[in-house]
Amino acid sequence: MTVAFAVPDVLVARAQAGDEAALEALYRAFETPVYNLVRRMLRRPEDAEDVLQETFLEVVRNIKQYRGEGYLWGWIRRIASTKALMRIRRDHVRETESLDDEPGKPGMHIGANLDLERAFERLTETSRAVVWLHDVEGYTHEEIAEQMGKSVSFSKSQLARAHARMRRMLDEGAQA
């Protein structure tokens, strides 16, 4: 899902003045795109909900710092993706336990009727994050590398491996 939201400047100004109704209006405008973004990056729905809450806590506390440069959605999206990536880094141990190695599901044999969404969900969180940020949100590898604290080549190789894995899963799903 790609989004390019615009909210009235007057609403942003009211939110910056501390108007609680305006802050709630901003929350209502962006809760779904923020949740969708972080839910696509993170495997567990409860983690995505926590990041949604953390993101808006930061938004309401720092809305005065938004200078109107670029879209508000770009500013909020940056906060959300950074928090989701922080959570992935923090939960690195869980990240290494890919579902690909799940007991009873050796290799990539995941059955028929596998669609792209399910194949995507079976990627590691790091791969999901790179694929979503690059292919859907339009981030460059440089931007992803900066946000993840990794190299550009890391971002590129993660993306290539993720696509190769999704392709294999879709092929095997179609053949099963």
Partner: protein
């Protein structure tokens, strides 16, 4: 025959491919199909439906915002109250330098402790950590009690004896320590 890797296909999609890959793709049907598959996967990802949050998180955000605002007001009130109090004490000490000096020293000490704890709490609260329901309730209760105490301090700053003020400030320091412990415990729990 050598074919494009997935990295080559990604580079072709981004317009950053090598000369070899750009030439190869014009003649290799297999790689053309792979590149088309990559385009299709990306298009399908972009077309996935939006996932909506299962629960409304605004009430939690709003509560945290109100707590933050309440603390700001309280901190400001405590500062202004402290300044007025300090001025009063200074005036009294100038007139009665005897027994008041001890109480004044004690009052200064307990106020410094309070200010130090206030600074530490500000640091714990700057990054918007999410509290569990129970932890949030404990914190809210402590903050309410501190607010009430601050109100009492502001009311008594003009007429109360130093000894009484010391007692109130000590009570405030005790509550601040409890609040600090509640937040520190949560910070350890989430590994931050």
């Amino acid at each position: 025959m050598m074919h494009c890797t997935m990295e080559d296909l990604g580079a072709l999609q981004a317009g950053e491919a090598s000369v070899w890959a750009r030439r190869h793709i014009t003649t290799c049907a297999t790689c053309q199909a792979e590149l088309e598959g990559l385009y299709q996967r990306i298009a399908q990802l972009k077309a996935l439906p939006a996932l909506r949050p299962p629960r409304d998180r605004w009430p939690a955000v709003k509560s945290a915002l109100r707590v933050q605002r309440s603390r700001r007001r309280r901190t400001w009130g405590a500062w202004t109250g402290s300044l007025a109090l300090a001025a009063t004490i200074a005036a009294v000490l100038l007139m009665q330098p005897g027994t008041q000096a001890t109480a004044h020293a004690e009052l200064s000490q307990v106020k410094r402790q309070s200010a130090t704890l206030e600074d530490s709490l500000q640091r714990y609260d700057t990054d918007g950590r999410v509290l569990s329901g129970h932890a949030a309730a404990v914190v809210a209760d402590l903050e309410d009690r501190i607010s009430i105490l601050d109100g009492a301090l502001v009311q008594r700053e003009q007429g109360a004896q130093d000894a009484e003020l010391v007692q109130l400030w000590q009570e405030r320091v005790g509550l601040m320590r409890e609040l600090m412990n509640a937040r520190a415990t949560r910070a350890r729990y989430v590994g931050l």
